[in-house]
């Protein structure tokens, strides 16, 4: 029976089976969805819960989810240890400048790669892909030499300047993303602008750039997240504690805690009572929260942007 019958008969056996099948399918779907969602949310719930536990609660294995004597002390200690009022602003400054650099340069460069024919275009675009594939770690020594010759070590310049030139953290990926978008954009508007005597640069800034909204947003979110989380490059070039970025503080904090565990002097025992897992959890959350807030605000637009990036030809 391929087509639903038109006559109004009493509900047939087949229909009942079909409905049951449907219901079963839905049930499985939702169980899977919730299970998978749990995998992602569980670390956050775990961290959140532990960040409110006192030392006795942490040590008490029977207390898993609900702290017996909640405390805000961990958050205060974590904020102090992270030096959050300084490091947060530093991170904000570097992330916003570097993201701005990516958005500006990558959209511009990608346009050149998409709309103009010039000798060596294929090869040069291949080199864009090359710059994505080459691991930054293998270049760290020559890069460090370069920056120390330029006298940039200890400043934020190594993190910011390359992004304005289409390089930096995953710069090539953004060039690729913007190129995909331009490929899907019909050239007629640009041709019309050219007929009206608009120069290529004028056309780009007045017509093309304002239309990149959704790709811009996706790139913004990704670039922000990647720069905010990065601790490898800042760790290489920024050695002055005053200039530390927020996520840079975490590795040294974790190290400090590991030492506390090994050391058994009276002093470190007292420290261990004060700085326990709860403080680490609070500190880790403090580092993530700014990103989460940004994402909560942009989530809906981000989704729409994803659906319209034009990644599909």
């Amino acid at each position: 029976m391929k087509f639903p019958s038109i006559s109004r008969q009493p509900i047939s056996k087949l229909q009942v089976i079909k409905a049951a099948k449907n219901f079963g399918g839905k049930l499985i779907l939702y169980v899977l969805l919730i299970g998978l969602a749990f995998v992602f949310l569980q670390p956050f719930i775990y961290m959140l819960v532990n960040s409110f536990k006192t030392y006795t609660d942490v040590m008490n294995m029977s207390i898993k989810w609900i702290p017996r004597e909640g405390t805000l002390e961990n958050w205060k200690l974590a904020a102090d240890a992270l030096n959050i009022d300084k490091t947060f602003l530093n991170s904000l400054l570097v992330t916003s400048l570097a993201t701005l650099g990516h958005l500006f340069s990558c959209s511009f460069v990608a346009y050149g790669f998409t709309r103009f024919r010039f000798p060596g275009r294929g090869l040069l675009f291949g080199l864009v892909i090359f710059s994505i594939v080459v691991p930054i770690q293998t270049l760290s020594v020559p890069l460090y030499m370069l920056y120390s010759n330029l006298d940039w070590v200890g400043t934020y310049l190594p993190l910011i300047v390359p992004t304005f030139l289409g390089m930096g953290l995953n710069g090539g990926i953004f060039i690729f993303l913007f190129r995909q978008y331009y490929l899907s954009l019909p050239a007629s508007l640009e041709e019309a602008a050219a007929l009206d005597g608009c120069s290529e640069y004028g056309t780009y800034f007045r017509i093309v750039l304002p239309s990149t909204g959704s790709t811009m947003l996706v790139s913004f979110v990704l670039s922000c997240a990647w720069h905010w989380n990065d601790y490898f490059e800042p760790g290489m070039y920024i050695n002055n504690t005053k200039k530390y970025l927020l996520p840079q503080m975490l590795p040294s904090m974790y190290e400090f805690f590991e030492k506390l565990d090994v050391n058994t002097s009276q002093e470190s025992l007292e420290m261990a009572l004060k700085y326990h897992t709860g403080v680490i959890m609070a500190a880790t959350l403090l580092c993530v929260i700014p990103l989460l807030i940004m994402f909560l605000f942009l989530n809906n637009k981000f989704m729409q942007g994803i659906e319209r990036t034009g990644l599909v030809e």
Partner: protein, 291 residues
């Protein structure tokens, strides 16, 4: 007339170079220069670390990487194996998740947001901690509380428990690493026109047939892109063991030349592996999406 065309073409080409000029400078200074330098390092021996005076020694560092250093090759092979296994799992899970969050489900906004958490937190130290710190503990409790009762656990062989734990750990790692891939697949799914599915339904194709005959072939190019992305990000992310080892050689053991040579071996391998995968997959995928 022909000459004018050429003139126009030349002007267009110049404008094109104008657009990519920032990248040309950036690439030259921040990529090509260090690449050339590390290539020179890999073939030389540094005489004086303060002035970086060096002499060429040919392939000595490369031979050392394989013959003298006993840890490099095993780490290298381990990393290849891990990346290959993760690739399959990541593709499977991200495709699956993309399909279910593309359906009409309740609380779609909420689920989408949860599944995109890895995009936001998918890099960096925090992720390493989330995955490393409480992973062991988590999966043990998960096994015990959700799947099995205490009595059964006690009677089971330890190897089997370890296997389950290993499996759960890997799935957690894979899920947390598949953020961008879910995103890519979702874009692909959004790009398939609903009218194709409607036509299929008129022809009485079931959901299963629709998946195999429409979704999969049309998603083929996106699958290729995702495979390449997954391989590249798997080989180059900061928690990759080979890269960690290379850094250790460079900064803790101060053997810049050796670490450069290892870096090049590793890099050439990535290019080869990704390139071959791409070429091997391209033909069948083109055929599939033509059908």
């Amino acid at each position: 007339m022909k000459k004018r065309m050429n003139g126009l073409r030349k002007r267009k080409a110049l404008v094109g170079y104008g657009f990519i000029a920032p990248w040309l400078i950036g690439f030259g200074v921040f990529c090509l220069f260090p690449v050339v330098y590390s290539l020179i390092f890999s073939f030389s021996e540094i005489k004086d670390p303060t002035t970086f005076s060096f002499k060429m020694v040919g392939f000595k560092n490369y031979l050392d990487a394989f013959l003298v250093d006993t840890e490099f090759l095993p780490t290298f092979l381990q990393s290849i194996g891990d990346t290959a296994i993760n690739l399959v799992l990541i593709l499977f899970f991200s495709f699956f998740i993309a399909i279910i969050i593309n359906r009409k489900i309740r609380f779609r906004g909420f689920f989408r947001m949860v599944f995109f958490l890895p995009v936001i937190l998918g890099t960096g130290f925090i992720l390493d901690q989330i995955l490393g710190e409480n992973l062991q503990e988590q999966s043990i409790t998960l096994v015990r509380e959700l799947l099995l009762s205490e009595d059964i656990v006690r009677t089971m062989p330890a190897e089997f428990l370890e296997m389950i734990q290993e499996l759960l750990n890997r799935i957690t790692v894979v899920l947390w690493n598949s953020g961008v891939q879910i995103l890519l697949f979702l874009t692909g799914l959004q790009g398939i026109s609903p009218s194709i599915y409607e036509a299929a339904r008129v022809d009485a194709a079931g959901e299963w047939e629709q998946f195999w005959l429409i979704t999969l072939p049309l998603m083929a190019p996106m699958i290729l892109l995702t495979v390449v992305y997954t391989l590249v990000s798997g080989f180059t992310n900061s928690s990759n063991e080979v890269l960690e080892y290379i850094l250790e050689i460079a900064f803790e053991k101060n053997q810049l030349e050796l670490s450069s040579a290892m870096g090049w071996v590793y890099f050439l391998f990535i290019i080869l592996f990704v390139g071959l995968t791409f070429l091997a997959m391209r033909k069948p995928i083109e055929r599939a999406s033509d059908r």
